[in-house]
Amino acid sequence: MNSLSVYLTVAAVLFSLGLFGVLMRRNLIGMLISIELMLNGANLNFMAFNRFLAPEPAVGQIMALFIMGIAAAEAAIGLSIILALFRRLRSINVERAQRLRG
C-alpha cells in the first residue's frame, strides 16, 4: 500500500476529478470547489515525493504549506470575484458571464 505509485494515482484521480469539475460545473462556487480539489491533488503529490524520494523531509512540507497559503489567497479572491459577479448579473452561472462573446 505504501508505495509512491499509489499516492501518485490517488493524486492524479483527485486532480482529474477537480479538472472535470472545472470544465463541467456552471456554478462558479462549484468551480472553486473543484479548483480546491486540484490543489489538493498537487499537494498530495508534493507530500508523497517528500516521503519517498526527497533528501530533506522538511522541504516538501514547506512546499505543501506554501500551496495551502496560495489556496487560501485564491479562495479569498475567487469568492470576492464571485460575489462581485453575483451583484452584477444576479447569478453565479458562468455561462451567463458572456460579455466577451464574439
Binding site: 479538472l19 470544465l23 463541467m24 458562468v94 466577451l100
Partner: protein, 645 residues
Amino acid sequence: MMWLPHDPVLSAALACATLPFLSMAVILIFTRPYQRLSCAISVGAITVCLGCALYLLITLRHAPAPVEYQWAWIVSSDMVIPFGFLLDRLSLLMLTIVAVISFLVQVYSIGYMHGDPGFSRYYAFQSLFAWAMMTMVIAPGMLQLYIFWELVGLASYLLIGYYYEKWSASQAGKKAFVMTRLGDIGFFLGIITVLLGFGDLGILHMNHAAQAGDIHPAVVTLGAILIFCGVVGKSAQFPLLTWLPDAMEGPTPVSALLHSATMVAAGVYLMSRIFPFFAASPDAMAVALIIGTITMLLASTMAFVTYDIKQVWAYSTVSQLGFMVMSLAAGGYFAGVFHLTTHAGFKALLFLCSGIFIHEYHTNDMREIGRGGGRKLTIPMICMTVGALALAGIFPFSGFFSKEAILGVLAEHPNKLFLGAGLLGAAMTAYYSFRLIFFILFPRSTAEEASHHEEAHGHGDDHGGGHHGHVFWAMAWPVMILATVTLVLGFFQNELQSYLLALEPASHGHEAVEHGGHGVGHYLLLVTAVCLAVGGVFFAYLEFGWKKATQEGFLRKFPAVETLFANRWYMDHFYRKALDLLVYCGFTNVFTRNDRRVIDGGIDGICRFTVGGGRAVSFLQSGMLQYNLVLMVAAVGVLVLVFAL
C-alpha cells in the same frame, strides 16, 4: 595644397558657406518682429561674405591648381560622394560676382522695401538665396551642386511669390518652381547617368576624365544632354522659358538678383563649370547651340511688343542667356563666362534702375512712367541708359566687349547660320532696349510745354533725390556703383581672360579672343556688329524717339505677328493645353481612378475581408469559458502524451 596659408582660406570659404544661412535662421527664429535688426543682420552677413569672397579672389588669384577642401559624405563601396569647397578660378570669379550683386541688391532693398510689412521675411529669404547660390558655386561635386541648385530654386520660389497674397504672384512662384523642376528632373537623371557610367561625381574628375576620353562617349553625350535639361530649366532656355517673365511678380530687387547673378546664372554657371565635360560631346554641344539660338531669337521678338518695363528686361535676360549658351556651346568658354560676368553687372543695373522708377511711379508700364516724367530722375535715367547701351553692345560699355567675344566665337563655327542669328539678335537687342529708353525719354501724350517745364527742372533733380532721404540714396548708390562697373569692366577683358584661362598675364591683342584667328575678318565682324547695334538704336529712334514718330513700332503693321509675339508664341497656351490634356485629363484621371478603385477599393476589400473573417471565426469566442478550457486541457494532455512519453 600645403603651401597655402591653410586656415584663413578655409575659414573664409566656410564663412561664405555658413553666414547667410545663420543670418536666415536667426532672422526667422528670433528677430522677425524687429525689422531694422533683421535687415542689419542680413546685410552684415552678406558684407562679411563679400569681404571673404574678395579675400579669396585676391589670395588665390595666382594659385596654379584649384584648391579643394573635401570631406567624404557618402561612402559606398568604391563610390565616394564628397562635400566641401572647390576654389578654382571660375568658382572664385562667380563667388565674387554673386557676393557683389547680392550685397548691392540687399543695400538697394533697404530703400526699395522700406516700410513693407514682410521686411524681415524678405531679408531672411535674401540670405537663403545668397547662401544657396554661394555654396552652389563653390561645390566640388555634382550632388552638392544639385542640392544647392534646388535650394536656389526654393529661394527664388519664395521670393517670386513674396507678395503671396497676390494671386498672380503666388501663381508665378509656382510656375517658376514647377518649370525649373521639370528641367531638374533631367539634371538629376544626368547625375545618375554619370554616376553609373563613371562612378565619380567630382567636378574636376569628371572634367579630366571626359577630356582624356576615359568615359564612354555615349555616357558623356547622354549625361551632358540630361544635365543640359537642368540648364534649360534654370536658365529659362527655349522650351521652358516662360517662367522667367512671370517671375517679375516678385519685388524688383529680387528680379535684379534673379536675373543677373543667381537663379538664371546658375544654369550657365553649371554649363561652364563642367565645360570640358560638355565639350567632349559634340552632339550635346550641337543641341545646346540650337536651343540657345532659338531661345535668343524667340525672347527678342517677345520683347518687341511688351510695355511692361520689367518684362522687357526679362526677355532680354532670356535672350542674353541664350547668347551665353550659344557661346559656350560653340566652344567659347571664356566668351560665355565673360558675358555672364558683364551681363550680371548691367542686368542688375537695369533692374535696379527700373525698380527706382517703379518705386517712384507705382507702375510697370513704360508709357506711364514716361508720361509721369520718368526722365526727371536723372541718376537712374543716366544709369539705365548706360545699362541699355551695354545691353545693346555699344562701344565703351562692358556688353560690347563680351558680345564681340561671343560673336567672334560664333564666327569660328563652321555653320555661319549661327553667326547670322547672333548678329540678328544683337540688332534686335539694340532695337528693343532703346525702344524702352525712348518711351521713357520722349513721352508722347504730355504737352510740349510740360516737357519744357521738366527740362527747366531737369537740373534740380539731382537734389530732387535729396528730399527722398536715405530711401532714395540707398537705391541710388548701388545703381551708380553698378553703372561704373558697367563702364569699366569691359576694359579688363584681357586681364580677366588671362586670369580665367590661367594664361600668362601678358598683353594679348584683341585677336587673342580668337586664339590668333583671322584679323581682318574679325575687324569686319566688329564693325558689322556695331553697325547693326547702332542701326537698331537708330531704327528705334525713328519709331519711338523722333518727334514725328508714331511710337507704334513697325510690328503694328503686322497685327498677326504682333499678337503672336505678345502671346509669347503661344507657348503658355501650349503649356496650359498640355497641362490640361496630359495632367488633368490624363494623369489625374488615371490617378483618381487608381485612388478610388484600386487603393480605396483595396483597403475596403481588406476591411471587408477582416470583418467577414472575424465574423466567421467569432463563433469560437462563444463567451463560454469552459469550452476554451476544455480545448486547452485536452491539448495540453495530448501534448504531454506525445512528448513526455
